[in-house]
Every structure is written in C-alpha cells, then in structure tokens.
C-alpha cells in the first residue's frame, strides 16, 4: 500500500504539477506536458482507490 500511495503522490506532484511548472519555465513543450499529465491522471486513478479505501 505504501508503494501505491507513493505512486499516487508522485503521479500528481511530478507528472502534473512539476511538469506544468517546467512547461511554464519553457523546459517542457506543450505536447509532452499534456502527455505527462494524462499519464499522471491514469496512474492516480489506478493506484489511489486501493490505499484510500484502506484509510
């Protein structure tokens, strides 16, 4: 569960929020930013139900 929780947290912090900051800074292009965000979204919805249910 700890690993799943870690994946969840990383999926929205790294693949969504940090990527959007990097995009704002011009370090990630828009197409890649959107793709990373979609991957982050999918990971969040796959992993979160398991540990959230436990809590």
């Amino acid at each position: 569960m700890k690993i799943l929780k870690l994946i969840s947290v990383l999926s929205i912090t790294v693949l969504i929020i940090i990527v959007s900051i990097l995009s704002f800074l011009g370090m990630v292009d828009t197409t890649n930013m959107k793709m990373y965000m979609l991957i982050g979204t999918i990971l969040w919805f796959i992993t979160t139900p398991f540990w959230l249910k436990e809590e």
């Binding site: 929205i12 929020i17 965000m37 979609l38 979204t41 919805f45 979160t48 139900p49 959230l52």
Partner: protein
C-alpha cells in the same frame, strides 16, 4: 460551491437525523478541514472563474476582493453557524421543523430542490461542454435565456443529464466515493491549468500578466459593452456565493458533528483552494484563450482542452459529474415528499434529474452562474435569520423558542411571512430593478430576522 455527504445522509433519514449527535461520534475541528477541502473545488469553479474576466473585473480587484470575501465567508461559518450547530447539534431540516412545522419545511425543501436542479443543470452543461470537444461540438451561449445551443450540443446535454440522473438514483454512493478519490487530483489539475494558461500567455512578470489580463478584458468589453465588476462586488459575491450554506445555515447539518466551535474554521482550506486558487486559475484560462484565438466564450471544456489537453477534458467531466451527482440526489430527496409513499424510492431523484437536464439544455443558465448563485442565497439565506433569532433571541425577548415543536403546529405562519416577504422584495429588486443578486442576501437575511421577532411578539400580545 459545496456538497456535503453528511447532510445527504441526514436528509435521507440516516444517522441522527432527528436527534442530537452523541458525544462519542463528535469530531475534532481538524477533521472539518479535510472534510471541506475538496468540497469547494467543484465543476462550478470552471465556470465561475472565467466569468469574472468576462464581467470585466480587474486582476488586482479579483485577487484582493476574493481574499477579503473568502475571509468574511470563513468568519461567517465560524461565528454564525458553528456556535448554533455545536449548541443544538441538529440538522438544518430538523431545526427548521421544530420552528416552522413539518409542512412548511416541505415547502422549503421543494424550493431548495428546484434551485438545486438549476445548479445541477449548470453542471450538466459544464460536463457536456467537455464531452462535446472530442466530437467537435462546441456550445454557444444564446442571447435569450431560453435560447438553445446547437442541436448536437443539446443532444449531448440530454445524454449526459440522463446518465447522471440514472447514476444518482442507482449508484449515488459509488460516485460519492469516486468524488473523494478525484478531489486531490482535481485541485492539482486546476493549478496546472492556471500555470499552463500563464505559459500560453507568455507571462514573465507581474506587469505582463496585468497587461495580458487587461487586454482580455478590453476584448470582452469591445464585444459585450462596458460592464462594471469592481472590488466590492467581488468581495460581496465571494462572501455570499455560499450564503445558503452559512447565512442560510445549511451547514448546521455538517458542523453539528463538531466537538467545539473551532470546526467553523473547517471551510478555510477548501475555500482558498476552490474559491481563490481555482477561480483565479480558471480565469487565466479565458485570458489565454482570448490572447490565442480572440474567442471570448467561457466554454469550460474548450478552455481546459486548450490548457492541459485530455487531462482537462477528464477533469471538467468529473468535476461537473461529481458536483451534479449529490445535487441531483439532494433535489430528489426534496421532491420525494411530493410522491405518494407507495412510489419507488428513486422517483424523486429521476424527476430532479429530468428537471436538471431540461435546465442544462439552456446554456444561458450556466453563463449566468454569478447571478444564479446570489439568487440562491437570497431565497434560502433568510431561513437562517429565523434560526438565528430562534436560537439567540426567543428567550431573551420572551417569545416561544421552537414554536412548532412546543405548540404542536405543522405550519408556522410567522416563519412563512418572515421568509417570503423579504424574499419577494429581494426578487423584485433583482428582477425589476436589476440589482446584482448577491447584494440582496444580507438585507433579506436581516429583514427576515427582524420580521420574525416582530410577528412572534405581535402574535404573543
């Protein structure tokens, strides 16, 4: 806007609907921070945020106006709702029933239900705006309030609305659990949308942001004409957009679970995430769209698609859906009292879903959300004034507290008059004189409070 699982549980006759909460079930004030955190980041935020820019608000006014308005809203929860909730530990509905009588509460419930339907209708439009994007269907807002968008968009609204109604009737709890899972992700996506919009505008300093914003406002005003949405209007709107919940005391049903009045600080994090960060980020999306395409329409689906692609589409659909679901469900519970007791338990929810879907077909409703939210507070808020008077002043001013309960009355005319007369006057000023609806909330609340005292004193004499 807020949604409250506890309230839903109660109004359906769930836990402690008609009795005070036992001490063992009370929660510490920090639980309320978490409980409220996701509730104010909902589908409505995608719609309301861009409307500030479309209404011509300056960015400085927006940033400082929302700050003050949100603080005032939090103080209202803390010092108006929490003391009564912690002291009486009753739901709004049961508290009202004790004062107004069970038949008048039914009238209040139906009015509440109808307003919920319009709110859910706006959320259906928001979700449909995102569903339409992959199919190349955009929605346009007609001038006429009963004007329709394109036939394709109306069909999408009907499909989305009916699916939501069926899900609310059959699987409310599943969507409620899903909403809990989605809430943190949704808040992060709101922030990402804002950052992406800033990148699209190529903003690199505060001055360049102000310049882009002002350009956006001037493009909107060149098309729609000059309108005024100044600092105090923003303060009043952001303070009172949840007036039904705080001034109207709907959140008695939630905060009654609190150990002490500090639970009144509960909405603080949620308010600043949803009604500050999310609104500002959503408004940036419209500013970016205007810069990139010159399009001034606040279409949530198109805005989110442009900012963050498929993630944005998914977010708008889920945000609209998870807001509409409890809203349709609550409206359905209110309507259920209209059906004979032999009818199916989901009849009210289906009726609410159909009414919400019909409302959703008219996109002007969602584009008038700033007005609608104020209207909602004006109509429901004054009942909170009656509860306030009953709680603090009845004994001091020597009239009967919890009148209906004490006298065995099922319809307290004093409450009806104290509610309807100020609301009627408020509606006259809103529709007849063109007053901004949020401005009417506090005068109506005060008038209802005073009127209730006067009628009760007169009745006694």
């Amino acid at each position: 806007m807020s949604e409250a699982s506890v309230e839903i549980q109660d109004s359906s006759g769930g836990e402690f609907a008609r009795s005070p909460i036992p001490k063992s079930r009370l929660k510490g004030w920090k639980s309320f921070l978490g409980m409220y955190a996701g509730e104010h980041a909902a589908g409505t935020e995608f719609m309301i945020g861009p409307l500030f820019l479309a209404a011509g608000a300056s960015l400085k006014d927006l940033i400082f106006g929302l700050l003050i308005g949100n603080i005032l809203a939090i103080l209202t929860w803390r010092y108006l709702v929490a003391p009564i909730a912690v002291s009486s530990k009753l739901t709004l509905y049961y508290q009202l029933e004790k004062i107004a009588g069970k038949h008048l509460v039914k009238v209040y419930n139906v009015v509440n239900g109808v307003l919920f339907c319009f709110l859910a209708g706006a959320m259906i439009t928001v979700s449909a705006s995102a569903v339409g994007i992959p199919f190349g269907v955009n929605f346009s807002v007609p001038e006429n309030i009963f004007g329709l968008s394109s036939p394709a968009f109306s069909i999408i609204v009907i499909i989305v609305g009916l699916v939501m109604a069926i899900v609310a009737a059959a699987g409310y709890n599943t969507v409620s659990k899903f909403a809990n899972i989605a809430a943190p992700w949704m808040i992060i996506v709101f922030a990402a949308c804002g950052l992406s919009a800033l990148a699209q505008m190529e903003v690199n300093s505060w001055d360049s942001l102000i310049s882009e914003w002002d350009q956006g406002v001037s493009v909107v005003q060149a098309t729609n004409g000059k309108v005024d949405f100044g600092f105090w209007k923003i303060v009043i709107f952001s303070w009172l957009c949840n007036a039904a919940m705080h001034f109207g005391m709907a959140d008695l049903s939630i905060i009654r679970f609190a150990k002490d009045t500090r639970a009144g600080w509960g909405p603080s994090i949620g308010m600043f995430l949803g009604h500050y960060m999310a609104w500002i980020c959503a408004s940036f999306m419209l500013a970016a769209q205007i810069k990139l395409t010159g399009d001034i329409s606040a279409n949530p689906g198109a805005l989110a698609w442009s900012a963050v692609g498929w993630t944005g589409i998914i977010c708008v659909i889920i945000a609209g859906w998870t807001t509409a679901n409890p809203t349709i469900y609550r409206a359905g519970l209110a309507f259920q009292s209209l059906f004979p007791s032999s009818s199916k338990a989901y009849s009210g929810v289906i009726l609410a879903g159909v009414v919400a879907t019909i409302a959703g077909i008219f996109p002007t409703l969602s584009s008038k959300l700033l007005d609608f939210v104020g209207l909602y507070g004006t109509i429901l808020g004054p009942m909170g004034g009656v509860i306030f008077v009953n709680h603090y002043l009845a004994k001091k001013m020597n009239f009967v507290q919890d009148y209906a309960d004490e006298k065995g009355a099922s319809f307290n005319t004093a409450v009806l008059l104290a509610w309807v007369l100020p609301v009627a006057l408020g509606l006259y000023f809103i529709f007849g004189e063109g007053v901004f609806p949020a401005y009417a909330v506090i005068p109506c609340w005060i008038a209802s409070s005073i009127l209730y005292v006067l009628i009760m004193k007169f009745q006694k004499s």
